[in-house]
Symmetry: C2
Subunit: 329 residues, 2 copies
């Protein structure tokens, strides 16, 4: 079954193609009568403009590229859902490219986006990315880009993330208010900007609380976090609190705490994390956490990118998402 085109409708209505084209987009020149007739026809035959033809003509394929280091992480799916929901409402398509946490693939994905004539790019950087030279050519093609979550220090592009510094700060404050004395903090890969900022925020609180002892560990995976946490628990026998900066880290830390508790039934460490929110509730005991809402982050980033597409002159803007604590007694 061939799909109906503007030409078919033109013949049925005995008008020209251009009249149909104009009628369908409410051009004021067209008389209400023929406009109605054409719209009726289009409706009843389920006419949908051919995306490739429109794209060719308008030099816009109404697609945005989403480049991610990977999607097996905990809150990434929520981010995608948020982006997807926002784009769907504006009739934009989403093309997902995965960098597998390799810088070279990230560069390649940028090229793919350019070659595909995307209207804009959303990107979360790999942990190997330390500069943004590979994004320079985007300006040649006027392709707007928004960084989300995993960023590095820069001024050229808009970005959306939680206030990582503030998040680290709040988590530390939370622990101190709970009256803890010695904290073990578990962080993600050292090279990540979010790791640095969360740690800085965390430490900032301790300036006013010099009596609190702290120990820090960088973890590359859940497994790594488990090992480091197990050994840390043995070394720092007096510790009474634990912080995990992400779900990935938290999963390992929680595993370590569980098995450590087997031999120390009375062990009770105050635990707090930054998390997407799904898992902590199902840990035992449930883990208090600062909610890092992926869905909202996705929505916000997508909306910001669309703004840039519609208003090419818009200046870069940094947006920080609000976070809330979910506290378990």
């Amino acid at each position: 079954m061939r799909k109906i085109t503007i030409k078919d409708i033109a013949e049925m209505a005995s008008v020209s193609k251009s009249t149909v084209s104009r009628a369908l987009k409410n051009h004021p020149d067209i008389s209400p009568m023929v406009k109605d007739k054409i719209k009726q026809l289009a409706e009843s035959f389920h006419f949908v403009p051919n995306a490739a033809a429109v794209g060719l003509r308008q030099k816009s394929v109404k697609t945005i590229g989403l480049i991610l280091p990977g999607i097996h992480h905990f809150f990434v799916p929520a981010v995608i859902e948020g982006i997807s929901a926002t784009l769907k409402s504006k009739q934009y398509k989403l093309m997902i490219l995965i960098s597998d946490d390799e810088y070279e693939k990230e560069v390649q994905n940028i090229v793919t986006c350019i070659d595909s004539n995307v209207d804009g790019i959303l990107i979360s950087l790999t942990k190997m990315t330390s500069g943004l030279d590979h994004l320079d050519k985007l300006s040649d093609f006027q392709i707007p880009l928004v960084l989300l979550d995993k960023t590095i220090d820069q001024q050229k592009f808009s970005e959306v993330k939680i206030d990582d510094y503030q998040a680290g700060k709040e988590c530390c404050t939370f622990l101190i208010q709970e009256g803890v004395r010695e904290i073990i903090g578990f962080f993600g890969p050292e090279s990540l900007q979010i790791t640095k900022e969360r740690m800085l925020g965390f430490k900032s609180v301790l300036n006013n609380a010099p009596e609190i002892r702290t120990h820090y560990y960088y973890c590359d995976s859940s497994g790594d976090a488990r090992e480091k946490c197990l050994s840390a628990l043995r070394i720092h026998g007096e510790a009474d609190a634990v912080f995990a900066m992400s779900d990935e880290v938290l999963v390992g830390v929680n595993a370590a705490l569980q098995s450590f508790r087997r031999d120390n039934h009375d062990l009770s460490l105050k635990t707090v994390a930054i998390s997407e929110g799904y898992l902590p509730e199902f840990m035992f005991p449930p883990v208090s956490h600062l909610v890092h809402n992926g869905y909202e982050l996705g929505q916000s980033a997508a909306q910001l990118l669309l703004d840039h597409i519609v208003h090419p002159e818009k200046k870069p803007e940094k947006r920080f998402l609000l976070t809330n604590f979910s506290v378990y007694p």
Copy 2:
């Protein structure tokens, strides 16, 4: 900066557009000399054919649509990565549409795929989907479709999944070999085909073991699973084994087991699950599980769809993925 076109290259090489077009795709008619020259030019100017123009001409936009009930589930991200990897190697683009587990949105997503002229569709059904009438119109447009993971009983389309019946069977067999006497089984939503099949497989083993007592529960979410597991543990005090049919269910079951253990330190239930594989290792104690490999499932489904696209006459085929046990002592 305008992108370079075939026309630009034609002028630079003083040949016609069609010569360039043919040279670039190694048409045998073109003399090696001019072919080389044109390729040189194309290379040095980073020529990339305009996808919209090619799509318009070839009536194929080299895109496949992926329709999912949601992506917050545990193994879905892995599926997407598998699909993405396979498609990338064949230069296909991926368009992801989310149905939010609502039948109406699934129907709408099919329409979107048709309207977008995708070359093929991969779909995992929502738990509300009980028929495939909404897929009928695909044959009008010759759009091949492959079902993955969440399917219903049907013969019209190819599908890729694990052998759910077999998986249920293996898990039950595993428990029996461990010498358990009374099993509590936790399953997903009752309406899902995979739930039915996993349960049938599970029960099939018990025909030969009438002395084993069993109790079954359907769970709609992790939270639901936790509640039902807690109450089940209280009711069936003699139970010595637990089965969880998916990660989502397992998360809740594990939480219940943990908190129940608090009051029953010696409680030790043999636990087994069907899982994507990431989480069970980090539970305490680690949970033996049948690995439901999302990445491979994605790869296989994508490859099968591409086969259908290239060979439109290909008959529907049902593929079952092999599964392996990951056993913890």
